[in-house]
C-alpha cells in the first residue's frame, strides 16, 4: 500500500503542471495495484479540474553485456521476489539474470516506475 505515497507524489506533480488533461503511465515491473493507485490518486485530486487516464507500460530489459532484450512477462519470480520488486524495482538485479549470458548487469529500458504526460494546458 505504498501506492498511497506514489499517489501523493503524482498529485504533487499534477499540481505543478497546471494543466487539465494528463496520462499516467504505470510501469509493469512495480506490480502496482492499479485500482488502489487509481482510487488513491482520484481521491487526492478530489475537486481538481483535471482529466486523468491510466496506462500500463510493459517492462522490458536490455542486457549491458550481450545486448539481449527480454521482458518481465518472460521471467519467473516467486511471490516474495515480486514483493521486494514491488517496493524497489532495482531488487530485480538480485533475482534475475540475462537469459542469454546470465549477467545481472542489465538495464530496465521501459516499464519501471510511474510517469506523467501533460496533454492540455489550462
Amino acid at each position: 500500500m505504498h501506492e498511497f505515497s506514489l499517489a501523493r507524489a503524482a498529485k504533487e506533480t499534477i499540481l505543478s503542471l497546471n494543466c487539465n488533461r494528463i496520462i499516467v503511465y504505470i510501469g509493469q515491473i512495480q506490480q502496482i495495484d492499479i485500482d488502489l493507485f487509481k482510487n488513491a490518486l482520484l481521491s487526492e485530486l478530489n475537486g481538481m479540474d483535471v482529466n486523468v487516464s491510466f496506462q500500463e507500460v510493459k517492462a522490458k530489459f536490455k542486457c549491458n553485456v550481450c545486448a539481449n532484450e527480454f521482458y518481465y512477462d518472460e521471467i519467473d519470480l516467486s511471490e516474495e521476489e515480486k514483493e521486494d520488486i514491488h517496493f524497489l524495482p532495482e531488487s530485480i538485479h538480485i533475482f534475475v539474470k540475462c537469459p542469454k549470458c546470465f549477467s545481472n548487469d542489465f538495464k530496465i529500458v521501459e516499464g519501471r516506475g510511474v510517469f506523467i504526460e501533460k496533454c492540455e494546458t489550462k
Binding site: 505504498h2 505515497s5 507524489a9 506533480t13 548487469d105 519501471r112
Partner: protein, 240 residues
C-alpha cells in the same frame, strides 16, 4: 514524460533539516559518525537516518536491525533506537549483494525518498558512500538545501581526497560548517600542510577519538555514554 518522484520528494522533505554526512574517502568513519550523531541528537528530536550507501550499507549492521518494514501508508521505518528511525536498502535486498549502475543508484534514491513515510521526523541524517559519483550528484540535484558535514580520517590519503571533495562543495557554494577529523590512526601524520589547507575551509573542526572496540557497542550503544570521552558533549553542542 515527467517522473512523479521529483515533486514527491520535494513535498516529503519540505521543512525537514537535512544533514549529509560525507567525505569522498572510504573507511573514514562516515557511517560511524552518522551513528554517533543520531545517538546524541535523538535525545532532543526524532532523527531519521538514511543509508545512501546502497551497495555497501553499514547502518543496518551498526543498528543491529534486520527488521523488514511495514507497508501501510508508505514505508514505515523501524525505530532502531529510541527516537532513531532507519532507512536502509538492506530491508529490501536482505543480505544479498546488490550491484547497481549509476542510473540505478539514482532510481533507488528517488524511490526510497518518495515511498518513505517520514511522519514527524524533522531531522534527517544522510549517510553517504565514498567516491564522488551519482549519490553525491543526486544530493546536489534533489536536496539543494542540504548541509554537508565532512568526515576525514587522520591520514594523508584521506586529507588529500577530502580536500578535492571540499573544493567541489565550495565551488557549488554548499554549507560546510563542520569537519570531523576521525583519529582512526594512532599517530597524527607529520607535515600537515594538506591538513591545514583542508581545515581552513571550515568554521569548526571536531576531533573524534579512536574508540577501542567500538563495534562491540553496537548491541548496546548507550553504553558509549559511560566512556569518559568529551566527544559526546561536543556532538551535543552541534545540535541547534
Amino acid at each position: 514524460m515527467i517522473d512523479i518522484r521529483v515533486e514527491g520528494i520535494k513535498k516529503n522533505l519540505e521543512n525537514k533539516k537535512i544533514i549529509v554526512i560525507c567525505g569522498s574517502k572510504g573507511g573514514v568513519g562516515k557511517s560511524t559518525l552518522t551513528f554517533l550523531l543520531s545517538l546524541v541528537f535523538s535525545r532532543f528530536v526524532k532523527v531519521g537516518v538514511c543509508d545512501l550507501d546502497f551497495t555497501g550499507s553499514s547502518l543496518h549492521i551498526i543498528f543491529n536491525s534486520t527488521s523488514t518494514f511495514k507497508e501501510e501508508d508508505g514505508i514505515v521505518l523501524p525505530e532502531v533506537l529510541k527516537n532513531v528511525f532507519l532507512l536502509s536498502v538492506n530491508f529490501f535486498s536482505k543480505d544479498n549483494p546488490l550491484a547497481l549502475r549509476g542510473e540505478e543508484i539514482t532510481d533507488v534514491f528517488l524511490e526510497l525518498l518518495t515511498i518513505t513515510n517520514w511522519k514527524d521526523i524533522n531531522l534527517l541524517l544522510f549517510d553517504t558512500p565514498p567516491t564522488l559519483t551519482d549519490p553525491i550528484l543526486d544530493i546536489f540535484r534533489f536536496l539543494p538545501k542540504a548541509e554537508f558535514w565532512v568526515v576525514s580520517s587522520n591520514s594523508i590519503l584521506s586529507f588529500h581526497t577530502t580536500l578535492k571533495f571540499v573544493k567541489l562543495l565550495k565551488e557549488m557554494k554548499k554549507e560546510i560548517p563542520i569537519l570531523f577529523v576521525n583519529r582512526i590512526f594512532e599517530n597524527d601524520v607529520k607535515g600537515m600542510d594538506v591538513y591545514e589547507e583542508l581545515a581552513k575551509n571550515f568554521e569548526k573542526v571536531v576531533f573524534v577519538p579512536f574508540i577501542k572496540d567500538l563495534e562491540s557497542f553496537y548491541i548496546d550503544p548507550y553504553k558509549l555514554f559511560d566512556l569518559e570521552i568529551t566527544l559526546f558533549n561536543e556532538l551535543q553542542y552541534l545540535f541547534t
